[in-house]
Assembly symmetry: C2
Homo-oligomer: 124 residues x 2
DNA sequence: TATTGACTTAGAGCGAACTCCAGATGATAT
DNA sequence: ATATCATCTGGAGTTCGCTCTAAGTCAATA
């Protein structure tokens, strides 16, 4: 798969795909003899993982670390689980922050709805 | 309330508090004759709102817009509700992204737990 | 074979959200 | 009054995560 195909499929710019590889957020991508990227399913699997995790707010740095550990082999299994656990905790926190903000927004919106419907403004 | 007290209470640096005010993410804060900030309850209410929304991922720009609209008075009620609704939608999307990432992390972690417990690595 | 178009790298540039700094001014305790 | 400390402003600096540019190389087509 060429970079433009991967870019299309995962809706990530070619620049971003190269960037992720350059900094190590994904392992080195398979290349043709000429040095052109030719993504395998393993490669795109990593892309998908990174896209998923980034969209949830994991830092690029955390992904780089994770990839580095996987490259180092089985001796880092424990460390990798720790890293994933930490990130999981982060996500749980973020989930809670969003839940709270949403609650607050819902309340505010309901007040606006009320005010717009009745024309009466009882503001706090 | 002085800026150092507010900074302490809301765990936001004094620089950040001044920054939020400077760019308009909160309305102008009450001052003493000497020009020193003296936060009222209304002021800290805004601080709390901004902290809540920022921690959930709302952009500073969105908050600036919201504050600007509130300053313009009742004619912007509808526009403000629209803005809050948009932000709410964003949060819902973010919630879903995090849910999905968490699911994936949970699965991966369970695989690591298994591997670490049994010593058997059946990797995909 | 020439030319077009996709791809390559290294490195600079950019927007968001702070964060830090310098120099001035305000508040307080002796 | 003076020393000390907190706070002020304007502006520069930092970090993150891309995004763009330039100049060169690879690949497919006429």
């Amino acid at each position: 798969m060429t970079i433009s195909e991967v870019s299309e499929k995962y809706e990530l710019s070619q620049d971003t795909l190269r960037y992720y590889e350059r900094i190590g957020a994904i392992p080195p991508v398979h290349r043709t003899k000429g040095g052109v990227r030719d993504y395998t399913e393993v490669d795109t699997g990593w892309i998908e993982l990174v896209k998923c995790m980034r969209s949830a707010g994991l830092s690029v740095e955390a992904l780089v670390q994770y990839v580095r550990l996987t490259q180092e082999g089985d001796s880092t299994l424990l460390e990798r689980r720790e890293l994933l656990n930490e990130q999981r905790e982060q996500l749980m926190g973020q989930l809670e922050a969003i839940r709270m903000a949403k609650e607050r927004l819902d309340y505010k919106i309901s007040r606006y709805d009320e005010a717009l419907k009745t024309g009466i403004l009882k503001w706090d």
